[in-house]
């Protein structure tokens, strides 16, 4: 070993550092083993499994309404959207007609959840780049959404608000009023985000041209969501395979072709504007009616394979259920967007600096429990 160090020229020597599992910029228990030449990243190897709980295996022992509570724990920032995937899969398999009111409420909740998730990403991203003030600006506004959730769902993070066939409970009478208030408030606050971070010269220098991903690579690596769309990969499930009320609303897919860190950032900021537009179109038109369809006490899916895709905040979230006709599934697989998004980290950060690795991994918006499942 010593001889090797002595004989290799200094500029060819590599050393490895462990980024994580306890590191401020991996946002959880993710571990990168980074090979460095000086400050330049040569190879990044993610080591996973620190928060692997075997949720898919656990699902094989649980009934479908119980599975919903576990999906909260996947990507905990978009619990509503994960629940939505299970509900849609079960409803699709049983061919249950869901009341229109439920469809509208679910769509609004999903979009609120998407905004909340992007807000938290924005705070954390600002902090990754050293702008600590961003964290408080983002959390200040996210608090308003969580209050809306708390009022209707009784919980702020892990809602489990949707059930197969409908909702746990009807929305709070204040829901529409407060949602409209929030949209009005956030339309004023979102430009502040741009003033604080987007327009900053240092921020643009740090992010423009860093970690580029081409469209072909995005498709091949299965990078979806805002990350994929920043590279020009049109992958919005809400557009291409519409579910819930997305075929009734008018919205644009946030779309860029550059694919670098800055445009992944821009795509998410744009998505917040679009989500607000969707909510505004729906919130006044929630039809009256039941908050849940009539379901059997024990839900048994007919034998077969069911796959349901929804657009989570991080990308294309899918649930694959194989049923053998029992009240518990035979096999459940979650297609988690973060798992696929992570796979391109080595490609993106090669030959960039260690500070860029932080910027790139932050811009992918990774949520570790969703990767490890």
């Amino acid at each position: 070993m010593t001889e090797e160090i002595l004989t290799t020229p200094l500029e060819q020597q590599e050393y490895t550092i462990n980024m994580g599992p306890q590191h401020p910029s991996t946002h959880g228990v993710l571990r990168y083993v980074v090979s460095l030449k000086g400050e330049i990243v040569h190879k990044v190897e993610p080591h996973l499994g620190y928060i692997h709980r075997g949720i898919e295996k656990m699902c094989e022992k649980l009934t479908y309404p119980q599975i919903i509570h576990l999906t909260d724990r996947l990507d905990y920032l978009t619990a509503h959207i994960n629940n939505h995937a299970v509900c849609l899969a079960v409803e699709g398999a049983l061919q249950v007609e869901v009341p229109e009111r439920v469809v509208y409420i679910r769509t609004i909740m999903d979009e609120l959840n998407r905004i909340a998730s992007h807000q938290l990403w924005w705070c954390a991203y600002g902090m990754d780049l050293g702008g600590l003030t961003c964290f408080f600006y983002g959390l200040r506004d996210r608090e308003k959404i969580l209050d809306i959730f708390e009022e209707s769902c009784g919980s702020r993070l892990l809602h489990s608000y949707y059930t197969p066939g409908g909702l746990m409970k009807d929305i709070n009478p204040n829901f529409q009023k407060r949602t409209k208030e929030f949209i009005k408030y956030f339309r004023k606050k979102l430009p502040e985000y741009d003033q604080l971070l987007t327009g900053n010269v240092i921020f643009q220098e740090r992010t423009k041209g860093v970690g580029p991903l081409t469209k072909e690579e995005a498709i091949s690596y299965g990078v979806t969501g805002p990350n994929g769309r920043a590279s020009g990969f049109s992958c919005d499930v809400r557009k291409h395979h519409p579910y819930a009320a997305y075929d009734k609303v008018d919205f644009k897919e946030a779309f860029y072709t550059e694919g670098d860190t800055f445009h992944r950032y821009k795509a998410r900021i744009d998505e917040m504007w679009e989500s607000m537009k969707i909510i505004e179109q729906l919130v006044d038109n929630i039809p009256e009616g039941d908050y849940s369809a009539k379901m059997k006490a024990v839900i048994k899916l007919p034998e077969g394979e069911y796959f349901q895709r929804v657009e989570a905040a991080k990308g294309d979230f899918g649930i694959f259920i194989i049923s053998d006709g029992n009240k518990t599934p035979y096999r459940v697989k979650f297609r988690s967007p973060n798992f696929c998004n992570l796979s391109c980290i080595d490609l993106l950060s090669k030959n960039f600096k260690i500070a860029d690795l932080v910027a790139i991994s932050g811009s992918l918006d990774l949520v570790i429990p969703d990767i490890d499942r």
Partner: protein, 362 residues
């Protein structure tokens, strides 16, 4: 002049004579040094505690929150509580660390910042040592701190610390140039390196107003470079906590960490007071041309208040951009210095020399 009402020179001479009359000159000098040492230590502690509190309040203000508000009225005792906590914390021993250098590093940093304090004129007469090469002394002594940082990073036996220390070395060596050259620009105007002379020569008009554009440019460059010198955001690459956890002081705990912490704030105080002394006239009151009445009123504000006020404003500026800017990358940091600040600085010196030569200043 009117500000002589606050002149403490006679008081100092009286103390000096008194001491000399009761003991031999050697012992009198030693006693004086001890008194000054104790006063400076106290000052150091008080300023450190106050700055930590101020930073928390300012950062709270910028981040839409209130900051510390539980310990004492408006949370003013928060830093004292924190200090007691740090004193009582365990000093975690590091495996395979170079024990001697590991323990030495915090002392080097704190001694470097204390030594520089000696040459700063706080008010007329409150000046520990009035060198004729005061500025040169401050620059030399304050750049010793980087040795402490390098030692801390090297001896911690931690790759994060080492990267942080190397970054800090590259950064401080580069920005030292800009600090030196921008101060040199100012010194062309004064024709002296003695700090008391520099302050006196700004009696009618502060340098930043007197020296036209070149003085203003020199001030801007000094502010950028000094922030980088103190390892503060947006130039806090040495301790970039999102990349290197805590950089060079990752492995330090308890009172040793407190030393680094205190030294950071002291360095900030130092560079701010140098900026105040050289560019904003030190303890000199604000005088505007022939407005005799206005000048008289200004003279009644004690020089120490002027001095501390100016320093506080500059510190506030530094805190402001720490809490609003994202961090630079190491190559951008060095590009900024070598490709922009240094050429501008060199050009600025020429312009300043021309201004002084042709007598275009006020």
């Amino acid at each position: 002049m009117a500000f002589s009402i606050y002149d403490l020179t006679s008081f100092n001479q009286w103390v000096d004579k008194g001491l000399n009359s009761v003991m031999s000159p050697l012992w009198a000098t030693i006693t004086e040094m001890a008194i000054i040492g104790v006063v400076f230590l106290l000052f150091y502690a008080v300023v450190g505690l106050f700055l930590v509190y101020a930073e928390r309040k300012i950062c709270g203000f910028i981040q839409c929150r209130v900051g510390p508000n539980r310990v004492g009225p408006y949370g003013i005792f928060q830093t004292i509580a924190d200090f007691i906590k740090l004193l009582m914390k365990e000093l975690v021993p590091i495996n395979k660390a170079d024990k001697f250098l590991f323990n030495l590093a915090p002392f080097i940093i704190i001694i470097a910042s204390m030594m520089a304090l000696a040459a700063i004129p706080f008010a007329k007469g409150i000046h520990a040592i009035d060198f004729n090469i005061g500025i040169f002394y401050i620059l030399a002594v304050s750049s010793m701190g980087v040795i402490g940082i390098l030692l801390a990073g090297w001896s911690s036996n931690n790759k994060y610390s080492l990267i942080g220390a190397m970054r800090s070395g590259a950064q401080i060596v580069s920005y030292e140039l800009s600090v030196g050259l921008s101060i040199l620009t100012a010194c062309i105007m004064f024709g002296s390196l003695q700090l008391s002379t520099i302050v006196e020569s700004q009696a009618d008009c502060w340098l930043i107003f007197r020296g036209h554009l070149p003085a203003f440019i020199a001030f801007l460059i000094y502010m950028i470079a000094a922030t980088a010198e103190t390892n503060r955001g947006p130039f806090d690459l040495a301790e970039a906590e999102s990349e290197l956890t805590a950089g060079f002081h990752t492995e330090y705990s308890g009172i040793k960490f407190a030393f680094f912490f205190l030294a950071e704030y002291m360095n900030m105080f130092l560079v701010a007071s140098i900026a105040a002394t050289i560019f904003w006239g030190g303890w000199m009151p604000l005088h505007i041309g022939h407005w005799t009445g206005f000048n008289m009123v200004m003279d009644f504000i004690p020089p120490a208040v002027w001095y501390l006020g100016k320093t506080a404003v500059i510190i506030w500026l530094m805190m402001w951009f720490k809490w609003t800017f994202p961090r630079l990358r190491i190559d951008q940091l060095l590009t900024l210095e070598w490709k922009y600040l240094l050429p501008i600085n060199l050009l600025n010196i020429l312009v300043m020399a021309l201004v002084v030569l042709m007598g275009w200043h006020f």
